[in-house]
Structures are given as structure tokens and as C-alpha cells.
Amino acid sequence: MMKREEILLNCIDDIQSGKRSLEECVTLYPELAAELREFSRIVMAVKSEGVAPSSEFKLRARTRLLQVMNTPEARHNPAGMWLQSLLLRRVGYTITIASLLVASSGITVYASQNSLPQDALYPVKTVTENIQVALTVSSEAKAKLHLKLAERRIQEVVTEAAEGRTVSTSALEAAINQIDNAVQGVNNMPESKAKDLLVQLSQSTAERQADLEQIAKEAPEESQPALKQAIDTMQRGNLIANVASENSALLSTNASVRDEKLESKYFQLEGTLLSIEGQTWTVGSIKLQNVNAPKSVPRVGSDVKLNGIVRGDQIFIGKLEWQDKALEGTKIEGIFSGTNSDSTEWKVGGVPVGKFQNEAPPAPDARIEVKGTAEKRSYTVLEDKTRDDNKSKSRSDESKPETSDSNKSDEKTKTSDNKSAENQSKTTDGRR
């Protein structure tokens, strides 16, 4: 290529990538000014053709793709039949709309209510639901409806699993969207109306999470990512609901079920409330900074049990119980969320808890319960409660002497204090 052409193309590329401006190029190569300006205008005009698809379309196309991927015969159908399918689909849309018009008689819509994602009438069911959402005006009713629809999606997956079908990832995704909508709805609701819905949300998400975990035990590997995502979403919804139902201030932070770090910022803590100085609470050996507490606060000296979520630099305390009887130490449970730079200070559920001088940190996602004393700030890992059963089991097997099946069963019902006694040999400072 001649030098002049090379210079022009390099300048055009630099202008497009933002490395240089048109005027800088013109200054550098004044003899090419006219051509540079002309080419630059043409390229800008060509690039202005670059339109982006709407997010609604992308979601719709993705959903259809997932449906096709979940259809076993999709792998074997000749690809050339797409147009026929397209035309049928367009006819199908018309039929769907017509069906909805006829639905004043209720027959089609009623018949679709028990349909599952792969069934012919399923689109009627979901379109009907969308219309129902659109026609619901009050924020409270809308949030309740989203919760109900999330439950319905999970129920469809439960039915699919029970019938030996492949679970529908599109239904799981829809459930996630509905839970997200429900939580966002609660976030924007007056406190007086939010309480009841949060209680419902807490109960519903706990139950649906249990349903999904049950399905995941038997589901094929290809379904596991979608199931895991849905389980995580239910868990986050449950954590938000649990804390926010006691402390509605959390709602102002727009906590979302799509926040993948939320679980690692949740903790449960037990210990003696030694002081409250402004927004700083000292519970046993643990300092909680920027505490946002529920309205009722215990007196200093009480033994407290609380849970909370760390959001930014604030700690939102949810459930808060207290009693006069003294505990033997401080206990905190949550996901291990890292150490300080020299690995001596651990964080549990986002809260700095103290030193573990002689103990290697657990895996980053480990759910642990630790106990220590205010004086020595030394801690014992009481139990690794990592959600992954296998991981938990293998860790448990490594750290405990072999027991009979009946003994293992008994362990599950023991209190934390009992576990503490069993694990004394793991005390970090070597005490027994």
C-alpha cells in the first residue's frame, strides 16, 4: 500500500479508537486534510448504522433459545426448517392473542393454568400473568403477585422433576426475575406495609430453596448451574427478608438478590454486649462499627444473639435477642470472608473478629462458626457449615474422629456449647 493510503487508514483507525482526534491528524498531515475529513465523515456515518437490539428482544430470544436447548429433539431437527417454525410462531402469536381475546369466556386461560414450560398452552399462561402484573396498580399487590409468580415457577420445576422431565431453565430464570421484582417492590414500599410481605418472603424463599435443593440432588449436571443460581437467589431473598423484617432500614440500601456477595456479608453473632458508644457496639471481643439497629436495644451487660448484614460501611442488625444469663464467650457464624494482609485477622460475614494465630484460614466460601473470649481474642472453629454437602462432609470427616452412624445423627442435635466441648483440641492458642 502506498504511504498516503497507509497514513489515511491509520488516522481513521486512531480516530475510531480514540487515540487521536481528527484535528490532531489534520495538523499532522495537512496535505491529507480534505480526504481525512471526508473519510472520517463516511466512517462515522457507516458506524451510526450500528444499532443495538432492545433488551426485551435479547431476553425473549435468550428464553426461546433456552427452551430450544432444553428440547431433546432440538439437536436432531434439520436446521432448514427454521422458516416454517418462524411462520408457525407468527401464526402462534396471532392465535395466542386471539385466545386471550376469547379468554373472556375463561376457557383457554383456565386450561393453561396447569401447563408446564414445554406445553403448548404455556405461553397463554405466562402472557396472562404478564397482563395481570400490568393491570396491578398498588405496589404492595404487585410485589405479592411477583412472589406468587416466583412460587408458581418453582412449582412448575418441581412438577417437571417429579415427572422425570428436564427442569426448565427458563422457568428458573423467570423465578429469579420474579423474586428480584418482589424484593425491589418491597424496597420501594412504605415500612408499615412492608413487614407482612417480608415475613411471607422469608417463609416462601426458605421453602422454595429447600424444594430446589431437593431437586438438585437428582438433577443432571447440565441443570445444575441454573438450579444453583436459583437456590442462591432464594437464599439471598431469605437473608434480606429476615433482616429487613426486623430492621426496615436495610430496605433503603436496595439490597438485591442479584448481589452475589450478599451471603458473604451476613453473620450471626452471640456474646456479651460490653458497650454501646454511638453507633459502635462491642459484643464480647468483636467491635461492630456503624451499627444500624432495630428500635429496641438491649442494655449493656446483656448476653445478646443477633444477626445482620454488612452493606458498605454499615452494619444492619436484624433479629436481636438478649438475656441476663452470662455466656461463656463470643460466638459468630457466617461465611469466611478473608483475612487482613498478614493473615492474622479473620473476617466472618464481613465482620472483623480477631486473631487466629495458629490456624490456617478456611476456604473463601466456607460457612463457619467460631467462638472465643473477650480477654484473649483467641478463637476456635466450632463447625464448618459450608453449604456444599460434599465439601462439608469431607472437612468434617477430616477433623473429627470416626463415629458410628448413631453418634453422627446425635451430633446434629447437639447445641453449639456441646460442639465447643468436642472441639477443644482445635483451640488456636493450644488450650485444652
Binding site: R41, I42, M44, V46, E49, P53, V68, A74, R75, L86
Partner: protein, 183 residues
């Protein structure tokens, strides 16, 4: 199985070939905008571009087992499918437009007499690009609409990068001439 954000395209494609749905979905997310832009540019309206884009990924999923990794970008395979879809689409419309005229079909609804600034006159630009011959049109489309690098275009067209740059220069010169003639 989760999709690590840093997973290479090669690895994603390999998993997609073995019908890993999560991997194929990640490829969909990565390329849906590009395919839509290409389709829109060719057919000139949103509804058809959406239908074609949707079908491209479904057809790609159905055919993914036959895809061979040769070093060419995965998206160039998707664009080949897109072009075939567009041809099928026009054929199935049973329109009387010949395949040659498909290239300029979308310009037929341009507004006569409207001579505005180039960057606001989409139909003129589209029409001008469609008048480019052979590889010139492909290079302009691939570089400026589809966002391919020179090396990717070179790989897809089986030419050297230098040859691609020469073609692009000539294409821009032709566009300048065609647009001047339109005025």
C-alpha cells in the same frame, strides 16, 4: 457449571460443541448484538432483524456439533449462518426480488429528495455500501458494522492483513464516489 468471566472463546466454543448449554448461552450473550446489527443492516427493519437473529442462534445450536475449530473467529461462522438466513428469508417471502437485488432491497424505502448530513441519512449510506462490489462490501461491513479487527477479517477472508487494508482503502474511496454521485 459456571462460566468463568475470563474463559477463553476457544474453551467456550469447545464446550458448546459438546452441547454445553451454559457455554453456548455465554456465546449468545457475547455475540447477539453483533449478529443483530449485521441482520438489521441487511434487512433494514427491526422486526425481521430480530426474527433472523433469534433463528441464527437456534440454527447455530442445532448445528454446533458440526462446527470445526480452525482458528477463525466463532462469530464469522455465526455471520455465515446469518447471511444464509437472510437469503432464505427473502426466498421464503416469495418476493419477486432477485438475490442480486436483495443487496439493495432495503434502500427502496429511502425518502426521495432528502439530502441531509451523511451521518443522519442512513438509507443513503446503506444503499452506497450495498453498491460496493465483492470483498469491499464485506470488509466495510466486517470492520465498521461487525467490529472485526483486521487480523480477524484477514483470517475470515483468507487474505493478508495488508490486502484487507488495501481493500478497505479502496472501499472507502468508492463510497466517497458513490455518495458524491447520489447528491
Amino acid at each position: 457449571m459456571d462460566i468463568p468471566s475470563q474463559e477463553s472463546e476457544e474453551s467456550l466454543v469447545a464446550r458448546a460443541i459438546s452441547h454445553d448449554r451454559a457455554a453456548f448461552t455465554a456465546l449468545y450473550e457475547k455475540y447477539v448484538n453483533q449478529i443483530y446489527r449485521h441482520a438489521y443492516y441487511r434487512v433494514g427493519n427491526q422486526a425481521d432483524a430480530e426474527d433472523i437473529t433469534e433463528e441464527v442462534f437456534i440454527r447455530a445450536w442445532k448445528s454446533i456439533g458440526r462446527f470445526k475449530q480452525t482458528g477463525a473467529p466463532f462469530v464469522s461462522w455465526l455471520i455465515t449462518i446469518t447471511r444464509n438466513q437472510i437469503i432464505d428469508y427473502y426466498r421464503a417471502q416469495k418476493s419477486h426480488i432477485s438475490l442480486d437485488k436483495i443487496e439493495v432491497a432495503a434502500s427502496s424505502d429511502s425518502e426521495p429528495g432528502k439530502i441531509a448530513e451523511l451521518n443522519s441519512n442512513r438509507e443513503r449510506i446503506r444503499s452506497a455500501i450495498r453498491k460496493l462490489k465483492g470483498d469491499k462490501q464485506k470488509v466495510i461491513m466486517m470492520h465498521f458494522i461487525d467490529g472485526f479487527s483486521y487480523s480477524q477479517i484477514a483470517s475470515a477472508l483468507k487474505k493478508s492483513e495488508g490486502a484487507v487494508r488495501v481493500i478497505q482503502y479502496r472501499a472507502l474511496s468508492d463510497l466517497k464516489r458513490i455518495l458524491a454521485e447520489q447528491i
